[in-house]
């Protein structure tokens, strides 16, 4: 979809149409979540600090966003996707791969499918969707980017090379700013140049990853459309309003994130074994790449999978204490992975079964209160509750996670 959140806002409020609209954090340290095409013309991009966006485009309308509404909208979008292929792999709330193999007799040529999908999407959701059609996933993804805004781009197998060769190597999955800089240093800027490069040269530049990049550059992307890929991780994170060293504030934030992650685990009826603490330091690091704030992560794997926020918070806090980080911290997050379905739980002979039952009942009660009265209605006392209120939350939507449409 094109600038999904911003498009939803513009659709629902005619006054916003034709104007630059930015959805994202409005505080000093907020970031842009989505920018309408009008705003993009000024150079506004998603993930850009809001302050920077405002400087580029002072007339933009800033909106805080409404995830609930976007999710509902996303379900409608996926409902439309589902009509055109039995195999739909959602990548985010508004993006998906559709496997069209074998659908031509039923639905017509891919070109027809694309037009029909766009027409139905516009009619039913009022939103514009761009479609990229290609023999493999990577190229389809790139083609959909070329099709934006509101267009179709079809890359037939015979035209693959002509399409890919002039494009920047940065368009290949996994080639970020660092890899890009290394390739550029060897005079490799386009996908065509990459294809002509000797494998040994690429291995020298990028290590074993170089060979994978070369394969992708040749259009050899063997990944299938995976309609039912399960979540691999869930995470919650937030940026502090000012960098902090205060363990109290940091631990309070971890507790809030841990609770939020746990709640999503319970909602999806899964449990997690690995807990990862994510910290972004306030001091910018030199070097290429957009990531200017150094990232520190620490993980621990539990003996038994959990969906208890208290347990996750304890692990995250332990990780934080052991990380012994002295620099000011900009962002903290809690991620869980190694997800398991909530199988029967082996009870402990040595602990009072009523105790683990108590935790479970407490969590269930917390969930019910939040379902009815909202997420802020009830929380765990951290002992430093006064500081917890200053924790802004941002929700990370990972592929295939619980709230996928």
């Amino acid at each position: 979809m094109d600038a999904f959140y911003a498009s939803v806002e513009q659709r629902d409020d005619p006054a916003l149409r034709g104007r630059p609209v930015i959805v994202g954090g409005t505080s000093m340290r907020g970031v842009v979540t989505a920018a309408s095409y009008e705003a993009r013309r000024f150079g506004v991009r998603s993930a850009m600090p809001s302050v920077e966006a405002r400087a580029l485009c002072p007339d933009a309308v800033f909106l805080p966003g409404d995830m609930g509404r976007y999710r509902r909208e996303s379900r409608r979008v996926f409902e439309v996707f589902g009509r055109f292929s039995p195999s739909v792999e959602g990548i985010s709330l508004d993006e998906a791969f559709l496997d069209l193999a074998g659908t031509d007799r039923l639905l017509g040529s891919p070109g027809r499918v694309a037009e029909q999908l766009r027409a139905e999407m516009r009619r039913e959701t009022g939103l514009a969707v761009s479609v990229g059609i290609a023999p493999v996933k990577l190229v389809a993804k790139i083609a959909s980017g070329e099709a934006k805004p509101d267009g179709v781009c079809i890359v037939a197998a015979a035209a693959l090379r002509a399409f890919l060769d002039p494009l920047s190597v940065g368009r290949i999955w996994g080639v970020g700013p660092v890899a890009y800089a290394r390739l550029e240093a060897r005079g490799i800027r386009t996908i065509g140049e990459l294809c002509r490069c000797a494998p040994a040269e690429l291995t020298r530049a990028l290590g074993p990853f170089g060979l994978r990049v070369a394969a992708l550059a040749r259009g050899a992307d063997l990944r299938e459309v995976e309609p039912y890929r399960d979540a691999r991780s869930l995470s919650e994170e937030g940026t502090f309003s000012a960098d902090t060293r205060d363990p109290g504030r940091i631990e309070a934030a971890l507790l809030v994130h841990a609770e939020a992650v746990a709640r999503r685990l319970r909602r999806a009826e899964i449990r997690a074994r690995t807990i990862t603490l994510k910290l972004r330091l306030g001091a910018r690091a030199p070097g290429p790449g957009r990531v200017r704030y150094p990232l520190r992560t620490r993980s621990v794997t539990l003996r038994r999978a959990t969906d208890d926020g208290g347990r996750i918070a304890t692990s995250a806090r332990d990780l934080f204490v052991r990380a012994e980080i002295r620099e000011p911290i900009r962002l903290v997050g809690v991620a869980v992975s190694q997800l398991e379905s909530a199988d029967p739980v082996q009870l402990s002979l040595l602990a009072d079964p009523r105790e683990s039952d108590r935790v479970r009942r407490l969590n269930r009660a917390l969930d019910q209160v939040r379902d009815r009265f909202g997420e802020a209605a009830v929380g765990r006392a951290s002992g430093r509750a006064d500081r917890a209120d200053s924790v802004p939350l941002s929700v990370q939507i990972k592929r295939g996670e619980d709230e996928r449409p």
Partner: protein, 368 residues
């Protein structure tokens, strides 16, 4: 150092220590066997600092002395030799010459002084225990010990004296527990205070008991359990920790008691266990009037159920257990009839042989 020894005896002695020899290589010398030629006997020692074995054998000692050699390579060489006798000779350098018929080896050695000291048994008082009885105590409990290193106090079997000179062994991993009591012919005085014997040592003791007719001697010295036979001394560092308060875990006043044919339940459990969920291993036990039903289901495989008639006329009772735990328990019991005692759905399930009041196992259910 120089001696001659029967090949067969040396193979046996070296074979016995192989399991103890340290393989992870944290301390390279622990991969060696300490060879001591004393005027009257030859000893082979190995230790991983937790378990130590000293094996004594007959040899013609020409010159006493001591040395250490790679335990694995020496064992393999001696096994391959063909002559019935061989000679070991430590020459002026650090090399040990092995001669047997036309075969000659010259092996690099490490000085015996580098080898860590093993606890000796000289000042220990020993008690005699029937090897079969000791083996039984281990067999009926070892399976329930914990393999989780973070719960080191559960990584072994707890042994203590209870009234009338009886020895009680208990093991638990926090999910299930096994307990057995037996009366040795003479009391084992040092068990007045409970000890925790680690898993690896128990496995070695078990092997030793298996190849012993009659009895072995056991003793305690400075945090080490010693098990002795005329030709062998096994020393095991005890786990230094508090065992859990297992007494409070034992179910009191069960409300339901059913009697089952053990073999029948074992085979039925094995069958339904084929389709339990790979991770949880959980299966359901549903008790209704006149029957017990075993049921398992796995989203990727399908379902299984099996009925066993039992003498029961109470209310429906349902619980869920880990099939592996149940199979372990059924395998550790040898009676024909088995008693299962239940209280509530989330309270421990007790298994005991119908003919032996001194053995029991407890499994904590799963919550579905």
């Amino acid at each position: 150092m120089k001696f001659s020894v029967e090949r067969e005896l040396l193979v046996q002695g070296l074979g016995r220590i192989q399991a103890v020899v340290e393989k992870r290589g944290t301390l390279p010398i622990l991969a060696n066997v300490l060879i001591r030629a004393r005027p009257e006997e030859l000893t082979l020692s190995a230790t991983d600092l937790e378990v130590g074995v000293v094996s004594t054998l007959n040899a013609q000692i020409e010159t006493p002395g001591e040395v250490t050699l790679g335990a694995r390579v020496l064992y393999e060489i001696v096994r391959e030799l063909e002559e019935p006798e061989l000679t070991l000779h430590l020459d002026e350098g650090a090399r040990v010459k092995i001669e047997s018929g036309s075969a000659n080896f010259s092996l690099l050695s490490i000085s015996a002084e580098e080898y860590p000291g093993l606890p000796g048994a000289d000042s220990t008082t020993f008690a005699e225990v029937d090897a079969k009885l000791l083996a039984e105590l281990i067999d009926r409990t070892l399976f329930a010990t914990s393999t989780d290193d973070t719960r080191y106090n559960l990584n072994g079997v707890y042994m203590e004296n209870v009234e009338k000179g009886r020895v009680r062994c208990v093991a638990t991993d926090g999910h299930r527990l096994a307990l057995i009591e037996r009366s040795p012919r003479s009391p084992v005085a040092f068990l007045e205070t409970g000890i925790i014997v680690p898993r690896k040592a128990l496995a070695e003791i078990r092997k030793l008991c298996e190849e012993t007719e009659g009895s072995v001697e056991i003793g305690l010295d400075g945090g080490f359990l010693m098990v002795r036979r005329p030709d062998l001394l096994l020393t095991a560092r005890l786990i230094d920790g508090e065992f859990v308060n297992y007494q409070q875990v034992l179910p009191q006043n069960p409300t339901i008691r059913i009697v089952l044919d053990r073999e029948r339940l074992l085979h039925a459990t094995r069958r339904v266990a084929l389709v339990v969920h790979e991770r949880s291993h959980g299966f359901g036990l549903v008790l209704t009037s006149g029957q017990i039903e075993l049921r398992a289901s796995n989203p990727d495989l399908g379902d299984a159920r099996e009925l066993i008639p039992v003498d029961y006329s109470g209310d429906r009772f349902e619980t869920s257990l880990n099939a592996r735990y149940v199979l372990d328990v059924l395998g550790s019991i040898s009676s024909k009839e088995l008693v299962i005692e239940l209280i509530e759905e989330i309270s421990p399930v007790q298994f005991r042989p119908a003919d032996d009041p001194d053995q029991l196992s407890v499994i904590m259910p799963m919550r579905t």
